[in-house]
Symmetry: C2
Subunit: 307 residues, 2 copies
């Protein structure tokens, strides 16, 4: 089944204790689509680039089988972000943000995208996210990302969006902001009451939590040897998650858990390299091997107690 | 098999956003022994109290079947600690520490303790920890806790201790301090090279990691509804861990993983109440039920990929 991502394509300048890159390929739609195509052959991108965007990047994405019919080129410069991560790899220090052509981005779906089954609304203005929802016809799953900026600045629009979607993907701080509840579990239940049936809580080095009305799943982070560049962790997670589900064509809790594992594994590999360098080279065999290893290092049995 | 704990018995005054207690029963040996006795009937305590220590506390511990032959009473006041936790339940603010009789604590094991099979050295001066190791005869497992204070102030003694023990239990920050390595996984391997065969890394809300030369196990934290008082989480973890292993009488990686799960579950229940209130009332049935539930909410299967 087909996957749709609406988000950003950017040129990122990132410095970490392990090196730096300048004007490297980035953006939520980029990470998402490169992760999703590992599982699903039919990935549709909606985003905007400037007329300065290097042709080699579009060629690379096309070469991976990603559909760029919805990638508009506008007059002006491509969205640019510059940031710096410290040794603890917490939130980066933003050194520069130039929205450029992204400032007037109004996502319009090519006609043949409107039947996409698995729709992901990257972290953009909830007003735009709602416009995308209106354009898709009978999707199987509509999921959205958001952030503190929209929770603080566009809460009414965001709440309206929550009624329109099936799944929300946010971090633990955002659960607390959105719910006003200090307990993560109670706060997550409050967010479910706002509309989405599935909530995925990204917890960084604490892993991921999935919660629905009836089920819960907690997964630790895969223990990687060395984070090199955390940029795109959330978007590569989301791409693998949605791509995996699209490849199965069904959504039940067994498949949701596997999708979360697939997402975690792809994100863990993405952050082992700068920009999309590692992500672009991954194969499904690499992922399958690490998923099996992850199961081995997390599984346990419960003894019978006869005291 | 028998369990030995050498540590503190204290009177704690703790304030959290959910309430406060004054001069409540605390100390590493208290939490440890109350957790260990849930699994193992033979738990031996070595600690010191002052002549002001309330008789009701010793009666409660004796009533739980804990052996207090090694609990010395010295002239003076019992060790007291006062602290305050904020809403995020990070490290507490220490308001007051009165070592009192604990200042001159020199652990001497009663003769019938010296054959204990599972020995836990609570977080005290590594010089004293080493004195305990010299007193035990052919233990099956010797484990120790330590902290940043000893890593900074008594590194040589601590390193000597590491050659004497089988297992070390520390947090992620302490792994980094001890190894000088920023990567948790690489740092953990460095610590293993210092002597212990098993390293348990306590990661708070990120869960627990166990690492040996050949194996690794990562477990998320059990998602509790509401932390009320985190005091004693590490010590109740350690007590349940050692008590569980003692009840099985063998140490292999299957049992180590189960011991970590038992420890996590008991710690998760302990922090749902102030002081030892919840811990003292637990039964093995409560624990077995939550262990099973924990397995359900953490287990997943890996699909076959046929792309």
């Amino acid at each position: 089944m087909s996957v749709l991502i609406v988000g950003s394509v950017a040129l990122d300048s990132v410095a970490t204790p392990y090196g730096k890159v300048d004007d490297a390929l980035g953006g939520s739609a980029t990470y998402f689509s490169l992760a999703a195509r590992l599982f699903s052959p039919d990935v549709n991108v909606v985003a905007v680039i400037g007329d300065d965007f290097p042709e080699k990047h579009t060629q690379m994405l096309l070469g991976k089988g990603i559909n760029l019919d919805g990638l508009m080129t506008s007059e002006g410069k491509t969205f640019r972000w510059a940031g710096k991560y410290s040794e603890d790899f917490g939130d980066p220090e933003t050194l520069d943000t130039q929205l450029n052509v992204f400032e007037t981005f109004a996502p319009v779906l090519p006609e043949h995208y409107c039947g996409s089954s698995f729709v992901f609304l990257g972290n953009i203005d909830p007003t735009l996210q709602r416009q995308v929802v209106k354009q898709v016809k009978s999707p199987m799953l509509v999921a959205a990302d958001t952030m503190n900026f929209w929770i603080e600045g566009k809460l009414d629009e965001l709440k309206a969006l929550l009624s329109d979607i099936d799944m929300l993907l946010i971090n633990a701080l955002e659960v607390r902001m959105l719910s006003g509840n200090k307990s993560l579990l109670a706060g997550a239940r409050d967010v479910l009451k706002m509309g989405p049936e599935i909530l995925i809580v990204k917890r960084g080095e604490s892993g991921v939590m999935v919660i629905t009305e009836d089920d819960i799943f907690v997964l630790p982070a895969y223990p990687i040897e060395q984070v090199v560049d955390p940029t795109g962790a959330g978007d590569s997670f989301a791409g693998a998650f949605m791509g995996y589900l699209a490849s199965r064509g069904k959504i039940d809790f067994v498949e949701l858990k596997r999708a979360v594992v697939a997402g975690s594994i792809v994100a863990s590999m993405n952050v082992e390299g700068f920009s999309v360098h590692k992500l672009a080279e991954l194969t499904i065999d690499d992922i399958a091997a690490r998923m099996k290893e992850f199961r081995e290092i997390t599984s346990f049995t419960v003894p019978e107690f006869d005291l």
